[in-house]
Subunit: 284 residues, 2 copies
Amino acid sequence: MKEVQYFINGQPDDRVSVAERALQYGDGLFETIRVRGAEPEYIARHMQRLNSGCEQLQFPPLDWALVREEWLELAAQGQDAVLKYILSRGAGGRGYRPASDTQVTRIASLHPLPHWPADPQQHGVRTRICSTRLAAQPLLAGIKHLNRLEQVLARAEWQDDAIAEGLMLDDRQRLVEGTMSNVFIVDGRELLTPALSACGVAGVMRSVILDLAATLGLPVRVAPVTLDDVRTAREMFVCNSLAGIWPVVSVESVREFSIGRLTRQLQVALEAGEDDDRGNWYRT
Amino acid sequence: MKEVQYFINGQPDDRVSVAERALQYGDGLFETIRVRGAEPEYIARHMQRLNSGCEQLQFPPLDWALVREEWLELAAQGQDAVLKYILSRGAGGRGYRPASDTQVTRIASLHPLPHWPADPQQHGVRTRICSTRLAAQPLLAGIKHLNRLEQVLARAEWQDDAIAEGLMLDDRQRLVEGTMSNVFIVDGRELLTPALSACGVAGVMRSVILDLAATLGLPVRVAPVTLDDVRTAREMFVCNSLAGIWPVVSVESVREFSIGRLTRQLQVALEAGEDDDRGNWYRT
């Protein structure tokens, strides 16, 4: 597949009403799902995260069986692809106040896989620290909502294609995530990833890796992470649903890394599909 | 006029591409302009604020003469109406990264004036303190961008129509603004309004009032405002471009107010059009 295909509420269409609250206020959520072998990957985890978002934003009830069906149907159209799925709270309402009778609008699109040169999974990626800080907003933390100006500003900070990802700190200078990824470091023999209680997106691949680590018997800690932790870490990697695990070989002006043993171990385990949800469907 | 009219890039149309960055990321800005006597009110101030937003978000250059022309043309279609004007960074780009060659999409709509029962300008409004806090993000403070989930969550907190506005605090419990308005209190003989350096929208009506106060020789202070300031204040009001000045007669569980002399004086001055920009056009 070369072109992007769009579907609104299940029907082929690439335009939506201007009154959609996703457009008016960023009042919506999204998932970015890897399609592999014509099937959506980690479907249960994506559904769970989307459902958390719906609860946090107090969305009206959604037909989750229908959502699952749409994901499966769309994935069947692309052997290896990206399925992006947006939920908008619907059209209208009086100003910011959501209407009591809105219907959620489902906006799906199927995209070709992004082209990443230089095999980042194998050779690792260079990163930088963004100057855009993430604001602390516990009410929106963890979920993948559509208010993404912080990420847009952060990603606009650099043009150098040799830098694959920008790392974002919170207002207390703690490392939270990448602009499009979550972050892990290996500290001693322990896997450490930032807590996301005040900001950041709790990525599906992050949750897969946390579970994989447990399966492999690796000690894991979810806690605040500082740049000092990065300076003394043995390994570092970023991850997301499309990229899998990218070893970090450089954090500009902070330090360089060699690709470490644990990172490779997790890549192998991930590739082997040791997470048991990969092929599973959402069970209602 | 009874129905809403929509225009995309100057043409009658009520649908936009799903790829618009306003929908994908809330990557855009908006203005809500009062049309009075078929003319947009405070056009220069709205343009200035929109321009600040474009600069803060590093939008590509915009034809401001064209924007002005659209506002005038649209306003001419409605005697008394609301002109909402959204700028989206355009369609596409690679993920969060804005494309270098995007064209800004202009989304205009003309609405009937909102119906506010019980003459709030005359009789004042009841308000409440929202539990949703505004996060501190200096990079987005002041501008009227499309990442409005905090306002959506705050406005969803109450259903009682007798409460006209919710007041929002920051994470240090300081009063910042209403969900759709700015806030002033009268402290002694001084007019006090919250500083908006970390969060909040710098409203056009707020700037009009600040200038009016200067013209009237009223001492004004822009500074952090606490609930203790509210408790000891003599008067309080909220304002926006559509509502003008609404005296606050109650902040639920905090205190009641009488409508004060300074509030009335500012309402009269505003009504008299003593701000010299009301009819002025943007001068390029």
